[in-house]
């Protein structure tokens, strides 16, 4: 065994109490980091999953219609302007098949689905309910929102007059699978549809209003034969959605809204949570570093006579330096292994114990290998760094003084 490892290990073994205490400190620090990251990571993932489970990552639609001036100002004529917003009509995206094919090839986009979305009413005997009618391409839409997985009754079928509606809408209308509804679109087109499936997305607004129909059916209801009002996109990395949206906007000239702008408040919340996590981690790491450094500083003082003897009998300073760096690194790495295991245990325990009434974990935790790798790398680095000062003190000891005063 190399001299440095031999001496470092012996010193750590010899001071068992000290080693155990500081290992415990490092382990607790690392377990806090692991637990906290797992918990916050899990919470964020589940929040994002819930949010994105019922909306596309990016929605493309025609740009808003701008107000047109009735009189152009000319030289010598002053005009007191009064700008009135144009009323926004339901408009089809020009050349949408070409645009959709092009958008499908934009880097980062993994799925695109055309849709025609409008408002209307559903009537069943005395019950009337405002609805959002969404005419979609049944296959493509599944890539955006996987309705099949959210069905609570019936099947996902959108042929002809078949529709699939939200669970709250169904209960508001007192309707179930196979029932017929009369619907009226804002274009005053009315029709009778058959309920084939009922879904729930966990969002009252959607579950209480959405009615999914085929694209052709939607086009008929809104008198837009062959047209679509939006193209919905799914991207590979949800946090890149805004960048992809900007890219798509530049290529198509369409209005492209990413989920990140639609849910700006959620994002701000997530980012505040992340920064508080970073801050807690920083202080935990700082405490761990101070712990390791102080133990090693004391150890160097305690062992200064021995270090002096080793130097006197011909041990080069760099080996003495390494003896203490190795101790710091080992404390970090061993502590982080123990801490990772503890953190994983806490997380799993927490997930098991804290459950909501339905029995599902209230706080899903997210443990992955990169988290352990991160914690280990940090703790080892911190161990090494905090050993630098004590190790340099040790290597610089003058053997004569150290032996005399040590």
């Amino acid at each position: 065994m190399p001299f440095e490892w031999f001496v470092a290990l012996r010193y750590m073994r010899d001071a068992k109490g000290q080693t155990a205490l500081i290992l415990a400190a490092v382990a607790i620090g690392v377990s806090v980091i692991v637990f906290l990251s797992a918990l916050i990571g899990g919470l964020q993932t589940s929040l994002i999953d819930k949010t994105l489970g019922s909306q596309p990552h990016i929605t493309l639609r025609m740009p808003r219609e701008e107000p047109r001036p009735l009189v152009e100002p000319t030289a010598g004529v002053a005009i007191a302007r009064q700008i009135e917003e144009s009323p926004q009509r339901l408009r089809s995206i020009d050349q949408w098949p070409t645009i959709m094919a092009a958008v499908d090839r934009v880097p980062g986009v993994i799925a695109a689905s055309p849709s025609i979305t409008g408002a209307g009413f559903a009537v069943r005997s005395d019950a009337k309910s405002p609805i959002v009618i969404r005419g979609v391409d049944p296959q493509r839409f599944l890539a955006i929102i996987d309705i099949r997985k959210r069905l609570i009754a019936g099947r996902y079928e959108l042929d002809g007059d078949d529709v699939v509606i939200g669970s709250k809408l169904a209960s508001d209308l007192g309707a179930t699978i196979g029932d017929k509804l009369r619907i009226l679109s804002t274009e005053n087109v009315d029709d009778v549809v058959t309920i084939r499936g009922i879904f729930t997305l966990g969002n009252l607004g959607i579950d209480g209003t959405w009615m999914l129909a085929s694209l052709r059916h939607g086009q008929a209801l809104y008198a837009l034969p062959g047209g679509v009002t939006t193209i919905e996109l799914k991207v590979a990395d949800v946090f890149e959605a805004e960048h992809v949206a900007i890219d798509v906007r530049g290529r198509t000239g369409l209005q492209a809204d990413s989920w990140m702008t639609v849910n700006a408040e959620l994002l701000a919340g997530l980012s505040a949570q992340s920064s508080s996590k970073t801050m807690i981690q920083f202080f935990v790491i700082l405490a761990v570093a101070l712990g390791i450094a102080s133990v090693l500083i004391v150890s160097v003082v305690q062992k200064s006579r021995e270090i002096g003897i080793l130097r006197a009998v011909g041990t080069p300073p760099r080996r003495i330096l390494l003896v203490f760096l190795i101790q710091g690194g080992l404390l970090g790495i061993v502590g982080s292994f123990v801490g990772s295991a503890l953190g994983a245990l806490f997380s799993k325990l927490f997930e098991t114990l804290v459950r909501d009434p339905s029995g599902a974990p209230k706080f899903p935790v997210q443990l992955d290998l990169s988290l352990f790798a991160f914690a280990t790398a940090i703790a080892t680095g911190v161990g090494l760094l905090s050993a630098v000062i004590p190790a340099r003190n040790a290597a610089r000891l003058d053997p004569v003084t150290a032996i005399r005063n040590g």
């Binding site: 031999f6 080069p316 300073p317």
Partner: protein
């Protein structure tokens, strides 16, 4: 070991301390030890014995003058060179044995060469075991040195100083805190290695009876060599004082 050259040459060594008020600890010391000599360095407290020993032991540098060990001049060496030379050309026996308590007797004896080379070797281990047997600690090799008696510890220290067969061994009050019986044992060991291996010893001592059993006694007073007495020839095989 360069046989023809003296084991130690100290030439006009001056050591001053302080910058504003200069104190002269050594005031032009000359000393030459021929191979195989066992020399005592005596003198009152503050005479500069320790300073001289530190300079010869390459733990300190002289203000002026030069030191050569077994024909190797040390004045041009940097810290690294001095460290390597301490490991290979010198053996140290300290007053309070100065062993490392966390390690066994065998490990203590191996540590200097291990620290010098980095990795232990079979040969390092064999040599250490041999010398521990030679100092009578065959059954104590794997004891932590903190579990050995004072005399045993000092014998481990002697073994550590001699395991790599250095041309020169420096001993600072090697019997200073031992009882008479243990002192006798330790001195006898040094004498034995001096005879068997031809190792040159420089022994700083306050103990008159130890000094009298050496081949030569050099007395230092106020940083100068006051007297230099030869008691017996280094090659003399008679052992009247063997303890």
């Amino acid at each position: 070991m360069a046989d023809s050259s003296p084991a130690l040459v100290v030439e006009a060594v001056v050591k001053e301390y302080g910058t504003t008020v200069r104190t002269r600890a050594l005031d032009g010391v000359d000393l030459t030890l021929v191979p195989g000599e066992l020399t005592a360095l005596v003198g009152p407290s503050g005479s500069g014995k320790s300073t001289l020993l530190n300079i010869i032991g390459l733990l300190d540098r002289p203000t002026s003058g030069r030191v050569a060990i077994a024909g190797n001049d040390t004045s041009s060496l940097d810290e690294r060179g001095l460290t390597a030379m301490r490991a290979r050309m010198l053996g140290f026996i300290f007053q309070f044995h100065h062993l490392l308590p966390a390690f066994t007797a065998l490990e203590n004896v191996m540590l200097p060469a291990w620290g010098d080379r980095g990795m232990p070797s079979k040969q390092m281990r064999t040599a250490s075991e041999d010398i521990l047997r030679a100092v009578g600690l065959a059954d104590r090799m794997h004891y932590r040195t903190s579990n050995l008696s004072g005399g045993q510890q000092q014998r481990v220290a002697v073994a550590r100083a001699l395991v790599h067969r250095p041309p020169l061994v420096l001993a600072d009050e090697p019997t200073g805190n031992l009882d008479t019986a243990s002192s006798g044992e330790v001195f006898a060991l040094m004498r034995r290695f001096n005879r068997e291996l031809g190792t040159t010893f420089l022994v700083v001592t306050h103990d008159r009876s130890i000094a009298d059993r050496c081949d030569r006694v050099v007395e230092l007073v106020d940083g100068r060599v006051q007297s230099d007495r030869r008691i017996s020839a280094p090659t003399d095989d008679a052992q009247p004082n063997r303890g």
